[in-house]
């Protein structure tokens, strides 16, 4: 009756899952490369194995087979390395990462790469809602379509999707760039503070205080460079959207700086 790779999971009094799980140590290791099959492992065991390989054995390239759409895989990795997931991830995949280069051959669920600091994540399939929420840096490339509220609260970095995007894309974004190759849903860039959104397809409706921006050579250079780096073919023609800066009023100076100026 157990689902794919599902085991009876124990919880301690604090509600923590598998507090005393052991590292499975099942990887095939070849120099600085490692590979393991996640089919029979729990989420915690997969992440423990990943950490063991990266931090204790200093592996540089890791391949994980059969992630089976489990949640919270590959989170909190703070070192430079290459990771390939041969399959799909569930929710919260590759969140809170700083440094790795990750390739996911399937799709990702909600909140992929939430709060990513740096690195590169390439998703071959689709992504769920809240993709790249609170992204701080790095590149997140989705070759399929993304759900609603991608780049919500984005504070840096670049989100690229070749397919369409859902409603409220770039909601309250503060910095960074979102590049959408397809159509986009209603409320694009609602209440955004700063940053840039590029859309190649149709925009269903603009959110409050999101306005068309003026195209510059720097925009052309950025788009061409990103498409070249990730081998996405020749870029289509994009429209640019930025913040109208009428919704909010605040000084860009910190209080200490303000004192100095005055």
């Amino acid at each position: 009756m157990a689902a794919v790779g599902e085991r009876k999971i124990t919880y301690d009094a604090r509600g923590l899952a598998e507090p005393f799980a052991d590292v499975p140590k099942i990887s095939e290791i070849d120099g600085t490369r490692a590979r393991f099959d996640a089919l029979e492992l729990t989420t915690r065991a997969i992440n423990l194995e990943l950490r063991w390989l990266l931090y204790e054995l200093g592996m540089k390239e890791i391949e994980i087979d059969n992630p089976g759409s489990k949640h919270s895989l590959g989170v909190g990795i703070l070192t430079r390395c290459k990771i390939t997931f041969n399959g799909s991830l569930g929710y919260f995949g590759c969140g809170l990462i700083d440094g790795p280069e990750i390739h996911i051959t399937g799709r990702v669920g909600w909140s992929a790469c939430e709060n990513m600091m740096s690195g590169v994540v390439v998703v071959d399939g689709n992504a769920g809602s809240l993709t790249g929420a609170a992204l701080r840096g790095g590149d997140l490339v989705v070759k399929g379509r993304v759900g609603a509220r991608s780049g919500v609260d984005q504070k840096g970095g670049t989100i690229i999707t070749l397919g369409s995007a859902g409603s409220m894309t770039g909601f309250m974004m503060q910095r960074g760039r979102i590049i959408i190759g397809g159509d986009v849903g209603p409320g694009l860039g609602d209440s955004m503070y700063d940053g840039t959104i590029y859309v190649a397809g149709k925009v269903k409706s603009l959110g409050i205080d999101c306005v068309p921006g003026e195209w510059t050579d720097a925009d052309t250079e950025l788009i061409e460079r990103k498409f070249r780096i990730y081998g996405l073919g020749s870029p289509p023609e994009f429209q640019k959207f930025v913040c109208g800066k009428v919704l909010y009023n605040y000084d860009s100076l910190e209080p200490a700086e303000k004192k100095l100026v005055l």
Binding site: M1, E6, S69, S88, G109, W110, S167, G185
Partner: protein, 311 residues
């Protein structure tokens, strides 16, 4: 939070949907451990009507007379069915308080359901020629074992794991909801409805009954009301997007259709897998992977989408 799931075989072939839905729901147990419910569409048994009903809820007082009262009420249900001209073929006792009756009857279903529910603590969970709603407290495997669902085969099913936020943890508050008194229609819902009381008062005035304090019950009754006025399932679901306020993703099923609707913010999740022979939908992809042990191509539908599939 709640988790919802649905599966429909497009060619109308029979599959072990009791087991399959259990695997889907068990893999989403973390979304709602309070109660689990199923709406299963089985093979019609020589055109009989099937009624699932319960005579007590999880919070009903288990006093000294409890067992005796159940026995008396059970006899009362059967005699009331007989008095309306129904000829009972089989009565199965699933648990001491939940029963499945199959019978022949061609009168008014609302009259029959009302007459049964007139008995204290009685609630008709489902009534139809193929639909059977099974719901109880606990996770999917608990309910599956309690109600012996491993022998259940059928064409389509929906299920729900509940984390109670708006009303009590009891069977009346568990999903799916039958679209009383519309036979063979059921709904599962993930979300909150904010214009619940407005709709409840409006529908009660139109003669609909509510058995719980759960906001999700509105959707089932709303669809029943629309469909009784001549709308198709798809039309009723489209109008619900404007009429119901709140955040929701819900799945509605009839004897040969399965439909899903999302609110205008796409606030609640849904993952969709579509192939030539089957459509599977769930709050999380992990639930679909529980029945399809291979890499699959799925996507999340967008805001205000209504999708309906036929078997």
């Amino acid at each position: 939070m709640c988790g919802i799931a649905g599966i429909i075989y497009r060619d109308g072939s029979q599959h072990p949907i009791g087991d399959e839905m259990t695997r889907m729901l068990q893999s989403m147990k973390h979304r709602g451990p309070d109660s689990t419910g199923y709406a299963l569409y089985g093979a019609p048994e020589n055109g009989d009507l099937i009624m699932r009903y319960k005579l007590a809820d999880a919070n009903t007082r288990r006093d000294f007379e409890f067992a005796d009262r159940l026995r008396r009420h059970r006899v009362e249900v059967e005699s009331r069915l007989a008095s309306l001209g129904a000829s009972i073929h089989e009565v199965e006792e699933e648990t001491p308080y939940a029963f499945r009756v199959s019978f022949e009857y061609d009168g008014d279903l609302k009259l029959l359901a009302d007459f049964v529910e007139d008995i204290p603590d009685a609630e008709v969970l489902s009534l139809g020629r193929t639909l059977e709603i099974i719901k109880d407290l606990g996770d999917a495997e608990t309910v599956h074992d309690q109600y012996g669902l491993s022998s259940f085969t059928g064409t389509h099913a929906i299920g729900h794991v509940r984390m109670a936020t708006e009303s009590e943890v009891d069977i009346a508050g568990a999903h799916p909801y039958w679209a009383y008194p519309y036979s063979d229609v059921a709904v599962v819902h993930n979300g909150q409805l904010t214009n619940y009381f407005m709709w409840r008062r409006r529908l009660e005035r139109a003669g609909r009954r509510f058995m719980s304090e759960c906001d999700s019950e509105i959707i089932a009754v709303y669809l029943a009301q629309e469909m009784s006025e001549g709308a198709t399932l798809e039309e009723a679901m489209h109008s619900s997007l404007d009429e119901l306020d709140g955040v929701f993703t819900y799945i509605a099923v009839t004897k040969d259709e399965l439909g899903v609707a999302k609110d205008e913010l796409a606030a609640k999740p849904l993952v969709l897998y579509e192939s030539d022979d089957l459509v599977a939908i769930a709050s999380e992809e992990i639930a679909i992977r529980a029945i399809l042990e291979r890499e699959i191509d799925t996507y999340d539908p967008y805001e205000r989408e209504v999708l309906v599939w036929q078997r």
